[in-house]
């Protein structure tokens, strides 16, 4: 109805205008007239609406206050409900199961919230500013912005019954700030079907592993015999290339006693040279390290003999690879090392009356029998030593892979965990590497834009420039 009225109203005006503009004199004279007339009636009628912005602004603030106070009452439900944030694509079931048991035992509801990984750190920072941090969280890394709001978890971490690996907890001034929820380790996957087809054998026991040269020779043999495209794809990540450097005898990029990154040893430099030589579009496709091709997808296509990634791929492969058989193979040597990292760091925030139940929840998670359930359900590599875990995978390859990774971690050279240790150390000093230059510099090196010496220098300088 209204639109019809408006249309009629409009038509009248258009007709009037037509009549006016038909007059030959309009253009100059009439316009001048308009400019003159414009000011008086408009300002007076505008004055009538002066109060409008004030009303709108007040209304906006009032509604905002209204909704704000609503939130307070909901989160102020007190110690009967706590929130637990984590970010994971699939490993959540274990926590929701434990949360139910915790509620039955302690009468405290745990709200498990899965946050997107992209932006999770930003979100935590902003939440800290808004005083709405979760009560407990599993975070990828600690942040100087909220590190002073953490509770001391030493009762849980130092409880001998739990047998949590002491070298993995984040400790500052005798306070335990974070306990890792799980370990991750880098490792090798092979396309078992291709190996079988080519009649090439591979080691299965990490104690009797192969060297990179032996592995590459075997992979080339498989590739030529089966007509596959590449020997290997390698995750484009600073953490993954650490494993390659360690395997080849290098110490990689380590923090010196002055708290700065040191120039790496000669073995590291030659390992990087070796890595570049592998990017020849035969052994490895250049596209992964130079232009962001997805190594996971390449391996899943069945066209690549092996894939160097890590334990987190196992659940994905168990479901997502149906066209061929895959297997986890021991990380090649000569040095038996990998890159061991922490899956998530469990922290408890000091949030008023939720602080006590939050701490209880963390303790509950790491009690030996609960942690066993959690690790099994989520497919975690254990942070508690001596646990016997039976993972719920149907796939034999996945079960074997977990068994192999657990062995690998026991055998791995201590240097394997140095990458994450350095990161933790920097955070505790109030510094952080926000943007690791390794990927960008290695891409330039592989593209032939700079030599290895320049690459190494740029990486070290790039890291140190972020330490302030």
């Amino acid at each position: 109805m209204t639109s019809v009225c408006q249309d009629n109203f409009l038509r009248e005006y258009v007709l009037t205008i037509d009549a006016v503009s038909a007059c030959p004199l309009t253009s100059v004279a009439y316009k001048g007239c308009v400019d003159h007339k414009e000011i008086t009636p408009m300002t007076t009628s505008l004055r009538r609406w002066r109060w409008l912005p004030v009303v709108v602004a007040t209304a906006a603030v009032l509604t905002a206050c209204g909704s704000g106070s609503d939130d307070d009452s909901s989160s102020g439900g007190g110690a009967k409900k706590i929130t637990f944030w984590l970010s994971t694509a699939a490993q959540i079931q274990g926590y929701t199961d434990l949360a139910k048991e915790f509620e039955a035992k302690e009468g405290v509801t745990v709200e498990v919230v899965n946050q997107p990984y992209d932006g999770y750190q930003d979100k935590l920072r902003q939440s800290a500013q808004a005083n709405s941090l979760p009560d407990v969280a599993s975070v990828p890394s600690l942040d100087t912005i909220w590190i002073n709001q953490l509770q001391d978890l030493s009762d849980t971490a130092n409880n001998d019954a739990n047998k949590i690996r002491k070298d993995l907890v984040t400790e500052q001034d005798g306070k335990v700030l974070a306990i890792p929820s799980d370990l991750t380790a880098a490792g090798l996957f092979i396309n078992k079907s291709l190996f079988t087809k080519a009649g090439v054998t591979f080691p299965t026991d990490p104690a009797q592993t192969w060297t990179w040269d032996e592995f590459l020779a075997a992979a080339t043999k498989v590739r030529t015999a089966t007509g596959a495209k590449y020997d290997l794809v390698y995750d484009n990540s600073p953490a993954r290339i650490r494993a390659f450097i360690y395997n080849n005898g290098g110490k990689g990029f380590q923090l010196g006693s002055d708290g700065k990154y040191q120039m790496p040893d000669a073995a590291t430099v030659s390992a990087l040279e070796k890595f570049k030589a592998m990017n020849d579009d035969k052994v490895m496709p250049k596209s992964v390290w130079t232009s962001g091709a997805d190594p996971n997808a390449l391996f899943k296509s069945g066209q690549v003999v092996a894939y160097f990634s890590g334990v987190w791929q196992v659940p994905d492969f168990a479901e997502g690879i149906t066209d061929f058989e895959w297997a986890s193979a021991p990380t090649p040597g000569p040095v038996h090392a990998t890159d061991i990292n922490l899956g998530g760091k469990v922290v408890a925030f000091n949030n008023g009356d939720a602080a006590a139940p939050a701490k209880k929840w963390v303790d509950f998670i790491f009690q030996r029998e609960n942690y066993t359930k959690l690790a099994q359900a989520n497919g975690y590599l254990s942070v508690e030593s001596g646990l016997t875990l039976t993972y719920p995978f149907e796939s034999k390859a996945a079960l074997d892979a977990f068994a192999l990774y657990n062995k690998e971690i026991e055998l791995a050279d201590p240097i394997s965990a140095s990458g994450q240790a350095a990161g933790t150390k920097l955070i505790l000093e109030g510094k952080a590497i926000q943007d690791d230059p390794t990927k960008a510099e290695m891409a330039k090196y592989i593209n032939g834009e700079q030599d290895v010496q320049k690459t190494v220098e740029n990486i070290v300088n790039g890291l140190n420039s972020q330490l302030g």
């Binding site: 408006q6 109203f9 409009l10 005006y13 258009v14 205008i17 006016v20 503009s21 309009t26 009439y30 316009k31 308009v34 400019d35 007339k37 414009e38 009628s45 505008l46 609406w49 906006a60 905002a64 206050c65 909704s67 704000g68 106070s69 609503d70 939130d71 909901s74 989160s75 970010s87 994971t88 694509a89 699939a90 709200e111 899965n114 946050q115 997107p116 990984y117 932006g119 930003d122 979100k123 902003q126 939440s127 500013q129 808004a130 709405s132 991750t184 996971n296 997808a297 899943k300 296509s301 069945g302 890590g310 987190w312 791929q313 994905d316 479901e319 997502g320 690879i321 149906t322 066209d323």
Partner: protein, 294 residues
């Protein structure tokens, strides 16, 4: 002049028209062929995306690539549906999107009208200020905007997503440029007839700008629907999350569950496609000059 030139014109026109009809056929074929090529270029990835969403995980990366799924499955969809509260997130997204779109149109129309039709030094300065906001990337504004929203007590409410989105320089400018093309004569005629400023705006100018309103509505709807980082930062309670946040939870740190992500992406697209189908005729007819001549 007119008399002498008039007679030869009709035959010339006729001849031209004849030539045109014979010469136009290949032209039309070419034009249509190019259009179809564009349809294929744009449509093929979408088709592949839709077909991939019903492939089981094992088939997604199989070599050689296949377009059609061998064993179609809806597992990706069911997993996506259960991995987060799709219905709740959908309602939240709808509230945010509709509210923000309506308010954006009202604010942009009013502001654009004022910028186009009122002459004042401070209005001109204001125009430049609005233009300036487009020159800052969103990331720069994130932190200060967050502080403002927090201090207004809007943190963790849907209004925190709606309110900062209302004023858009693009929308304001679309309306300003449109209202500049509306002749001042129309405004004058209204004033002469005793129409107040507000009723002139509401009853003449707004109806005139309907194509712009619809164009902006579609843009705004799309912007708000796809918003990610801002809702993620200002919403804390998972019952207030929007769809895009839910979809993003499927992307992990180290790997992506593609089959579930594809299912979730298709689910999150459906409403937007439906809205487009309903409003299609307005989008296609977004005739910017609204039939007015000046």
């Amino acid at each position: 002049m007119a008399v002498t030139t008039a007679p030869p014109r009709p035959p010339a026109l006729r001849r031209r028209r004849k030539k045109g009809t014979t010469g136009e056929l290949p032209k039309k074929v070419w034009a249509t062929a190019i259009m179809w090529l564009m349809v294929v270029v744009y449509g093929f990835p979408v088709l592949w995306f839709l077909l991939s969403s019903i492939k089981p995980a094992g088939e997604l990366f199989s070599y050689p690539l296949t377009l059609f799924p061998e064993n179609p499955t809806l597992k990706g969809f069911t997993q996506a549906w259960t991995s987060f509260d799709v219905a709740q997130y959908f309602v939240n997204t709808l509230i945010v999107t509709v509210a923000a779109t309506l308010l954006t149109i009202v604010a942009s129309a009013a502001c654009g009208y004022a910028l186009a039709k009122y002459n004042n030094w401070w209005i001109k300065a204001f125009t430049i200020c609005i233009l300036a906001t487009t020159m800052l990337p969103g990331e720069v504004l994130l932190a200060p905007l967050f502080l403002v929203v927090r201090d207004l007590n809007m943190y963790n409410s849907l209004s925190a997503v709606v309110v900062p989105a209302v004023i858009t320089a693009t929308g304001t400018f679309m309306f300003r440029q449109f209202f500049l093309t509306v002749p001042d004569d129309l405004l004058e005629a209204a004033r002469i007839d005793g129409s107040g400023e507000l009723s002139t705006f509401l009853r003449i100018m707004l109806p005139l700008s309907r194509p712009i309103m619809l164009t902006l509505a579609i843009f705004s709807f799309q912007w708000r629907w796809n918003d990610y980082i801002w809702p993620l930062v200002v919403l804390n309670d998972p019952s207030k999350y929007t769809l895009q946040i839910g979809v993003a939870t499927i992307v992990g740190a180290e790997n992506v569950n593609w089959s579930v992500l594809l299912g979730a992406s298709v689910l999150s697209m459906i409403p937007l496609v439906l809205i487009y189908l309903v409003f299609q005729k307005y989008v296609m007819n977004a005739d910017i000059n609204a039939g007015l001549k000046d």
